[in-house]
Amino acid sequence: MQDTQMQELIDSVMLAGKIMIESGADMARVDDTLKRIARNGGIKEPKIFETTTGIMMSVPDYKLAQVEPIQKRTIDLEKVSRVNDISRAFQLKKITVEEMKVKLEFIDKKAPFFAWTWQVLAAAMISCTLMIMYNGHWQDFITTAVIGGLGYACYYFINTTFKIKFVSEFLASLVIGALSVLAVRNNLGISVGMIIIGSVMPLVPGVPITNSVRDVLAGHLLSGLARGTEALLSASAIALGIAMVLRFM
């Protein structure tokens, strides 16, 4: 194989790994996809080591090695799914290495995301339905939907404009708690507890929790613990916000 083609292949492997880890895929899936791309590209024994903060890859036959640091972590499962599709298409020889690289770069720049209005609506829907599923009162239904939507909107805007993790969760849960207490005081709801439980649900760090369990099970102890810590910190930030409201209001 020519040197330039090999270089393109390694670049695509690194880019695919970067996109997947940034978007919140579990490590077993990342490992599987990257090795599949490398093997189908003609590398006999690719050595790839990936954690939540970086990927290292070396090709023993060619004495080549690459490192790719990963700085940010978001959640966007559409990207994970698309990279997976591309790796399958490459395996079936439907696309060449060059085409694959172009497609990956396109995904990295932009993939369709639900507009923020849809996300806030979805958050409102989650809040009120879960509140009823946990045996809440029907009188709190609309209040919970509104507060859940507002809380998520707060979380979303802090996350997109300032890009500070944990602070966004803390402030959002603070807003949710304060609004719930005020709503019950003004006779807009009955149970502060059920309203808070429902409205906080959209903020629950579901992806880090599930991934940390799966990573530990698959033997990626480093990533599993890192993600577990992330989930625990998010949960603590939410808890702190609610605790402050309950203590001082």
């Binding site: 919140g24 895929a25 579990d26 899936r29 959640i75 966007d76 499962l77 559409e78 994970v80 799914s81 698309r82 997976n84 399958r88 995301f113 639900f114 849809w118 996300q119 979805a122 958050a123 829907m125 989650i126 339905t129 879960l130 009823i132 599923m133 946990y134 998520y152 507890g193 808070i196 439980i197 429902g198 906080v200 649900m201 959209p202 629950v204 579901g206 992806v207 929790i209 599930t210 991934n211 369990v213 799966r214 099970l217 949960a235 808890a239 609610i242 605790a243 402050m244 309950l246 203590r247």
Partner: protein, 147 residues
């Protein structure tokens, strides 16, 4: 009537969470179905008075197995299906009470609830472990038969 509301709402909640995580649109319906299934298993076991932990474990197990099947059929990663459906099982009530009692200074009661949260989380994780085990055993048997 109550059952109908539970089915509809667990579907809506799972799909809503799918939107927040930006799951591809063709997987959204699958998420909803798995979410309903998991919640029904949970309610059924709870109805039989077999305890909270078993209900969570078996619900997580059902979600895990169906997520593996859906992932194989639709050729998409498994995490697309099991994360949104898991959300209704999160021990929201217990964690709220734990936080509340911590905030009010009643630490011993708070720790009691915190232990419950930990045990439920462990039960859910165990359910996923078992589902993964079943999936791997099944695929191993199938590959041995084919070869």
């Amino acid at each position: 009537m109550n059952l109908l509301i539970n089915i509809l709402f667990s579907y809506l909640a799972s799909v809503g969470f799918g939107v927040l995580l930006n799951i591809p649109r063709r997987a959204l319906n699958g998420c909803g179905i798995i979410g309903v299934l998991g919640w029904m298993v949970y309610l059924f076991i709870k109805h039989l008075d077999l305890g909270n932990m078993l209900a969570n474990l078996l619900a997580a197990f059902a979600i895990g197995v169906t997520a593996i099947i859906f992932a194989r059929v639709k050729k998409m990663p498994m995490i697309l299906f099991n994360i949104p459906s898991l959300v209704p099982l999160v021990p929201g009530g217990q964690s709220y009470r734990a936080i509340r009692y911590f905030a009010l200074g009643n630490n011993s009661l708070a720790i009691e609830y915190l232990v419950q949260v930990g045990m439920i989380a462990g039960a859910i994780a165990m359910g996923f472990f078992l589902a993964e085990l079943v999936g791997q055993v099944y695929f191993k048997i199938r590959t041995v038969k084919e070869s």
